[in-house]
Amino acid sequence: MNDKFAISRRAFTGGAVVLGLGGKAALAQGFAGLGMNGGGFASVIPGKTFAFPADHGPHPDYRIEWWYVTTNLMDAAGIAYGAQWTLFRQAMQPGAQQEGWANQQIWMGHAAVTRADTHRYSETFARGGVGQAGVEPKPFRAWIDSWQMRGLDPIGDDSIAPLELTASGTDFSYTLRLDADRALVLQGDGGYSKKSERGQASYYYSQPYFKVAGSITIDDKPAQVTGRAWMDREWSSQPLTSDQTGWDWLSLHLNEGEKLMLFRLRQADGNNYRSGNWILPAGKTEQLASADIEMTPTAFTEIEGRKIPVAWRIAIPRLALSIECSPLNARSWMATSFRYWEGPISFRGSHGGVGYLEMTGY
C-alpha cells in the first residue's frame, strides 16, 4: 500500500499521505501539498511562548509536525557514517481528536544509515489512536513500530537529553545514545520561522548540540560509532506557498563549535527564499536573511532520471564564511513513497566540519 501514497519527508510530508500528491501535481499545489490552505487547523503566529516538555509532544491542532534527528558519526577505524531518524505526523482532518481507528492522525517514519559505499533506508506508516505510533512529552517517548526515541533518566526538559534512538530496516539497524549539555535553540524569531515573503511560517526549534555514542549494524556487521547529532522539531499548518516547489536544507556542525542552519525554498518563478541561523557555542543566535546567503550547486548526480545537486558552494559574506560542501555518498537517495535526497556531508574552506543536507522536489 505504501507505494500508493506519495509522501514527502522531513519537511513536510504528511500532507501527501492524504493528498497523494507527487510529481507535477505536487508542483501545482506546492511541495507535497504543503502549500495547501490551512483551513480548520490552528495558524502559526509570532510571539508563541514555548513550554517544555509539553512542546516536545504532538500539536494535533496543526496539520503537520515532525521529530527529526540527523547524526554524523565515525567508527574506531575512521570510517564515516550518517544516520537519520524521522517521525512525521499529519492530521487528515482538523477538530477534536477521535479515539481508536477514527483518530485523524497518520504517522510516517523514515530511518536511514549512510556510509561512503552504501545508503540504507526504511519507511513505515501508522494510524494514530491505537498505539502503533505516537509521541508523549513526559516521560519523553516518540515511536512508530519498533523504532523509538525515548528520554533517559534524568532527562532535561530544556535540553531534551539524554535520549536513546533505535531503528531498524531489513538490512540495517542502529542504537544510539544522544547527550547534550546545553539547552535547545529556538529558530527564527523566537521559534517562529518564516518560510516565504508572504508570511507562511512554522514553529521551529532545534537541539544542535548532541554528542552521540552507539552502534550501527549494516548487513549484520556492527560498528561502534561516536559523533554529533542535530534534532529539529517543527510544526505548522501551511508552511509553504503554492508556488514553492521544493527545498534545500543544511545543518552544519563547524569544527570550531558553531552551528549553522540554512535552507532555500525554491519557487516556480526561479527565485528562492533563503533563511538561516548562525548559532554560537554559547547558544546565542544570529538570523540570516535571503540577501545574506549565497548557495550555488557545484556538482550534480543523476538519480532515477533526476539531476540532483549533491555538492554546494556556500558563502555568507557577513560572517566571512565561504565553504565547499561535498556528500559522503552522492547517492544518498531516499527512494521512499515520496523521493528525496538526504545524507551526511562534509565541508572545507573558510571553515571545516560535517553536517546533513536534505533536498526535496527534484
Binding site: 500500500m1 507505494d3 477514527a102 491505537v130 515511536w143
Partner: protein, 820 residues
Amino acid sequence: MSRLVWILAVLLSHWRRHPMQLATLLIGLISATALWSGVQALNLQARTSYDRAAATFGGARTAMLVSRNSATFPQQLFVDLRRAGWPVSPVVEGRIQIGGRSLRLLGIEPVTLPAEVGNAPAIGKAGLQSFVTPPGEMLVAPETLSELKLTEGVTPLASDGTLLPPLRVQPQLVPDVLVVDIGIAQRLLKMPDQISRLLVGKAKGRRAPLENIAGDKLRLVEPDAESDLERLTDSFHLNLTAFGLLSFVVGLFIVNSAIGLAFEQRLPTLRTLRACGVSAGMLNAVLLVELVSLALVAGIVGLVCGYLIAASLLPDVAASLRGLYGAQIPGHLTLKREWWIAGITISVIGALLAATTSLLRAIRLPVLAAAQPYAWQQAQHRWLIFQSALALIVLATGGGLLWYGDSLVSGFAVLAALLLGAALGLPAILERVLSLGQRSAHRPLAAWFWADSRQQLSGLSLALMALLLALAVNVGVGTMVESFSRTFIIWLDGRLAADVYLNAADDTQAAEIRAWLRERPEVAAILPSGRADTQIGGAPIEILGLADHATYRDRWPLLQASATAWSRLRAGDAGFVSEQLARRLKLGVGDSLDVPAPGGNWRLEVVGIYADYGNPKGQIAVNIAALTRRFPQIPLTRLGLRVAPAAVPALISSLQDKFGLDGRNLVDQARLKAESTRIFNRTFAVTAALNTFTLGVAGIALLTSLLTLGNSRLPQLAPLWAIGVTRRRLAAIELAKTMSVALITTVLALPLGLLVAWCLIAVVNVKAFGWRLPFHVFPLQLLELVGVAMAASLLAALIPMIKLARMQPASLVKIFADER
C-alpha cells in the same frame, strides 16, 4: 525468391480445385485450436479470479497470524507485534446482511496493508481520507452492486437497521465481499478492538520471537504458492484441460488425414516439380510455408471460435465452480495477450505435428516412383506390431500408476494411459477380428471383403482411434454423471430431512418464532440447528449442530456408523464426520479427533461417517446442545420444521406475514431440493457440452478419413467393377465395411468407457472431491451411444459411398490406364 512464389502458386492451385479438402483441413485445425484455446480461456479466467480472491482476502498468498482457538483476538496484539518489529496488518471479518442477502464484510487497515497483498483494493491516493474517516466508504464489486440493486454513493441499511457507509465500486474486488476500514468494520460487526487475523508482510528485519509477544495465543500460517481455491478447483480444471487436449488430438487426426489426402493427390504435381529441377529442400520449404500460413489463418479463426465457446460455456463453468467450491468467477470473459499467442502457436505446432509423416515422405520422394499400396501395407504390418507393443507398455504403466499412484495427477495419468493404450492397441485388435472374419469367409467376394477391410485399416486407423477415444470418454463421463446424479438425489432426499427451513434475523426473533410455532398444531417438530466454523490443520471446517430427534435418526444417511451412533451424539463427546474430512484426516469409526473450540480443544470420537456431496469444506456433525456449549457465540437462528406437506404453503405464508421472512431465509424442502438439483445439473452442463463437441469432432475425423481413402482406393475397386460387380453393389460393400469396423470400434469402446468411468469414480473423484460414489452401469445409455456412433459413422460414410455409386464408368476405366 520469385521461384519460391511460383512453386507456392502451383501447390496452392490444388486447393482451388479441391475446396472441400481445404475446408476439411481448416475445419480440423480450427476445431483443434478452438476447443483447446476455449478451455484454456476458461481456465485462465478462473485462475485470474482466484488470484483476485486470494489477494483481496489476504488469503493463502500472504502469511498470516491467526488465533490458536480460531476466535478473534484483541487488537492490542497487533500493536505489540508492530512494536516488536513484525510487519503485520490487521483484518477483521464477519458477515452482514443487506436486503436479506448475507455478504462477507472485511475490515482492512490500508496504511499498514503489505504492498505485496498485490491487487488488493487500491484505496488510491486521494481515497485514504474518505475511506478511513467516518462515515468512510464501503468498497463493493460491480457485480454485487447490481445484484443488490443499489447504486454507487448510496448508504444502504443493513438488515438489522444499521446505517452502512456509502458504497463505492471497486472493479478488482471479488463479488459478495464488502470492504471497509477496520475501525468501521469493528463497529458494524460489534467487535470493538477485536481482530480476526493479521497479515504478515514480506519485509524482513529484526523481529522478536512470536511467543515473547503473543504467548501461545497466535499461530503463524505460512503462505502457500497456491491459493485454497486453486487447490480445491485443480481437479475441475484438470478435467477441462483433459477434454481440451482430447479434442485437440482428435482435431489433429482430421488435419492428418486432410494433409495425407492432399499429399496423395499432389504426388504427380510434386514429382513433376522435382523433374523440372526444383530441389527437394526447396519443395519442402514451400510445403512448410504453405502449411504454416494455413495454420496461422486457421489458428486465428480457431481462437475466435475458442473465444465464443469459452464465452458461451462461462456461465456454466462459473455456476459449477460456485456450486462445487464457492469460487466466484466474473461472468464476462477477459483475455490476456499470452492467450492469443499460445493459441496461434498451438495451431502451428499441431499442424506441423499432423503433417510430419507427409512432409517426411515428401523429403524422401524419389523423382520416379510408382504408387505401392501393397508395400505400404507391409510397412503397416511392421508398424502394427510396434504400435501394439507400445500399447502394452502404456497400459502396463497405467496399471503401475493405479497401484502406486496416490494423487489426483496420477489418477488422470491412469486415465490417459488407459485411453492412449487402448487407442494404440485398436488397430491390432481390429486386425485380429478382421482376419478371423477372413478365415471364416468362403465365397470369393466375402473373402475379398475381409481382406480389403484389413488393407484399408492403415488409412482408417487414426480416425477409428479418434472415434474410440471420443466414445470411451463419452461412456465414462456419462456413466459417472449419471451415477452421481442418482446418488445425489437419493442422498438429498435423506439429507433434507425437515420440511421447512428458516433462518431468523437474530436470536430474539428466533425465540419469538419458536414460541409462535409451538402453538401451531400442524408443526410436528421444531428442529433447531446451528453452525460453527473452525480450522483443523489450517483448513476450514464446519461444525453442524443437529437436534436430537427421530427425524434425523430415521432419515439422515450415514455411510458407516457404530451401533449406537445417534444416541452417542447426545453426550457431546462424539460426532459424525463427512466422508471427505474422514479421507483427508484418515479417520475411521472409533477414531477420535481434536476440534479447536473457543475454550480449548474439543475431543470427539468418530461414531459415524456421512456423505456430504458438493461441500468443499470438511464437516463434522454433533449434537446441537453440545455445539452451543462449546461455541457459545454462534447464532441460534436456524430452524428446521416437520410439517405435514399439505400444511406447508399456509405455514410459509403466515410465517412470511408475521415475521417478515423472505425467500432467502424461509424455504420449503421442495424448493431447496429443486435449487440443489438445478445447481447440480449446471455443474455437469459443461462436461456434457464438451462431450458433444468431442464426439462431433470424432465424426468429422471419420468423414475426412473416408474421403481420403475414397480416392486412393479406386485402384482396388476398379478391378471388381471390371469383373462385373455393379457400382451400387460396390458402394454397398464399402458401406458395410465402414459400418462393420465402426461397429467393432464402438463395441470395444463400451468396456473401455466403463473402465474410464470406474477410474473417474474410484480414483479421480476420490482424490479431487474426497467422496466415492457407488458405481452403476446404465445399459440404455450405452445403447443410445452405440446408436449415435453408428449414425455418425453412417453419415460420415454416406458421402463417399454416394460418390462411388454415381461414379462415371469412365473414371473407373481410367484407373487401368493411369499411372497415379
